[in-house]
């Protein structure tokens, strides 16, 4: 679903992502782990077209994010780590705005909005302005709007930060459901226990370079992910 080939991104002289190659396939819940400043957010933003990159190629279902960005962007939903939304819009207006951009029909959007806003217990507050929401509510709204257009691929940056336990559990269930339907999820996280339990594949990035990648069971072996991660970061 996502093919990243030799991705390189520089900020001036600093190489934030160095020749990174990764494949995320249908059915994967792919965890992306690294220390602070390792290049996780830069990689994710490059995949989603939020920032340009210097070298390499990124294909979403075979479509280049650079050459045909509109077609590629229709296939995924992206949620950043601290989703800043439009404070003057109400929750429902924001969701409708996203659905209009993704050209979702009335019936389909109605069903999806009802389903996900009920799941995240946000239905009753959708009429209030986003400026009145707490951080967790904004996070939930971003997730609802991302799911409202039925994406095949979810790309998330630290999705569990700010979510209460029930919402975290709901999001995990949604991830499983998406993958069972042939979709995929790619997310970065600092919570290694979640990655260990949830992801079937893991990639570990250090100083812009991939240091370990593969099936979770193979990456971890007999140790814990925390142990492996700390060993790799020490090297």
């Amino acid at each position: 679903m996502i093919e990243i080939k030799s991705l390189t991104k520089k900020y001036g002289k600093k190489i934030a992502v160095d020749n990174l190659s990764l494949n995320i396939e249908a059915g994967d819940i792919y965890g992306f782990i690294g220390h602070n400043g390792a290049g996780k957010t830069t990689t994710i933003k490059s995949i989603t077209g939020v920032i340009p990159f210097d070298e390499g190629e990124i294909l979403i279902d075979g479509i280049s994010i650079v050459k045909d960005s509109i077609a590629a962007k229709k296939l995924f939903a992206y949620i950043p780590d601290s989703p800043d939304l439009y404070p003057s819009m109400t929750g429902i207006k924001f969701i409708n705005f996203i659905c209009d951009i993704y050209e979702i029909g009335s019936k389909e959007r109605q069903e999806n909005i009802k389903k996900y806003s009920d799941l995240f217990e946000m239905t009753s507050v959708l009429g209030s302005p986003i400026s009145s929401y707490s951080h967790g509510m904004k996070q939930k709204l971003a997730i609802i709007s991302a799911l409202s257009h039925d994406p095949k691929l979810l790309i998330l940056d630290e999705p569990f930060v700010g979510l209460d336990p029930k919402a975290s559990y709901t999001l995990k269930e949604i991830m499983h459901e998406l993958c069972n339907k042939g979709g995929a999820v790619f997310f970065s996280t600092h919570v290694l226990e979640v990655a260990e339990k949830l992801c079937n594949k893991i990639a570990i990035i250090k100083n812009g370079k991939l240091v370990r990648t593969g099936a979770t069971s193979e990456v971890i072996g007999d140790n814990s992910l925390e142990h492996i991660f700390l060993e790799l970061i020490k090297e």
Partner: protein
Amino acid sequence: MIDMKNKAIILVKNAIRTALTNAKFTGENTKKKYLFIGLYIFLVIYMGGFSFAMSFLMFDTVREQASAEALLPFIPVIMFFVTSVFIFATSIFSASGVLFNAKDLEMQLAMPISHFSILSCKFMGLYFMNLIFSLMILIPNCIIYFVYAPFNAVALIGYIVAIFIAPFLPTLLGSILSAIMTIALRKFRMKNILIILASIAFFVVYMQFFMNIQNSMQYITQNTEALFNSFSSIYFPSLFFYKSITGSLVHILLYIATSLIPVIIVIRIMAIYLSKFIAAANQSFVKSNYKLTEQKTSTKIKAATKKELTQYFSSALYVLNTAIMLILLTVGSIYSIISKSGFINILTQIIEENDISEMFLMVLISAITITACMSSTTAHSISIEGSRLWIYKSAPIDEKNIFNAKINVSMIIGLPLIFINVVIFTFVFDFSVLNMLFMIFIPSMALYVAAITGLIVNLAMPKLNWTNEAMVIKQSKSALVSMLCYISIALLIIIPGFLLFKIIDQTIILSGASLLLVVLFIILRKVLFTYGINKFNTLTIDS
């Protein structure tokens, strides 16, 4: 260990720096630093010069009257009253951001500093901001006063002291009203619209004063004593000010006491309730009564335009810094029709007195064109996205739709106002259909060109990592450069017209202007959809 006195000094310095947005003066870019210092000096000289002129006019008129010596001190009192009203009005808007919503307030509340110290220091920041205005208006007045009035050392000391004391009470009163409004309006969703309407009303009164400035000056100088009595009864410090500048030492001390004591008492009281106030002011009201209904769909461009309009109207600062001139022109036109007075009558008088009826159409088109160009909203439209740019950038919406949505806001605001003005002018001055069409086309096209230009400039000079929207709307390079571009677009159309109108038929001139605008439109649109798109794709939050 830093003792309390040093803590206070640090806090006051910080408050002044924040209130004056002095960060740019401390930056490494010396060119920028000197540019901004230059701009501020220019502003000070401009305002000071204006005060000199007004003061000179008033003193010179009053001294010709029989009881001049007795009346002269009333002029400074009138200027003092006007300054106090202005400080009071501006403090209502600025106090909230400086005192109660300052980003560092929560951090300071968690530090080992008394609430009284924190609040006093922030108040001093606000006071210094208002002091600059007081100095700009009252120092020139003071100089002119002592040119006309007999010199008295105590009076001079009194005047200087009074200039520095003057901002305290109006700042305090403005802060109190601001605090009350913050609590009272926190649940009110239309408060931005209220602020916009109140500001427009303020500007209309201000413009009305300037349009009738001769009559206003005459009224002031013929009714000086009566005005002084009114002001003294409305605002008692006016009397103390008068007594201070006429040499009463007792009243100088009384003035200091009656200004500072209330400030200290009120700040003490506010400090006691500060935490509760902040909690109440920041309380968010999420209504939990929404029921999902049928959702309507929109096209991408319509959805993006609606989002841009919502964002635009959510910021009083954004609206007042863009559409205000065109709104004032429209209000002035409507007022002129209804009251049969106002600027249209002034214009008619000027035409008749100077026999310039043949260029009058050009004058009107120029006026609408300049105000239309200045009302363009696009100079900040990229920067205002700020940390929310990821939404557009990760969504399947092409850049042309995004840009068109931003330009649409300018057109949706501007076109109806242009049309109203054109209809009024056509009705009053009986223009032909062709001339009416020119009056619609030229300003509308100029607005479109200005909107595209503002967007290109903002793409070239974005500022996405802002914390306060004033940084983007009032203080950014893009805002300044765009303003110069808007004026240039308007002058490019207007100046050749005025230079050529005696040699070339007016219809040909206006056709030429229209054609020039079409050419500009084609070129700039091409630039926007090539250079602009490339720039947009390279934008990041660090821009």
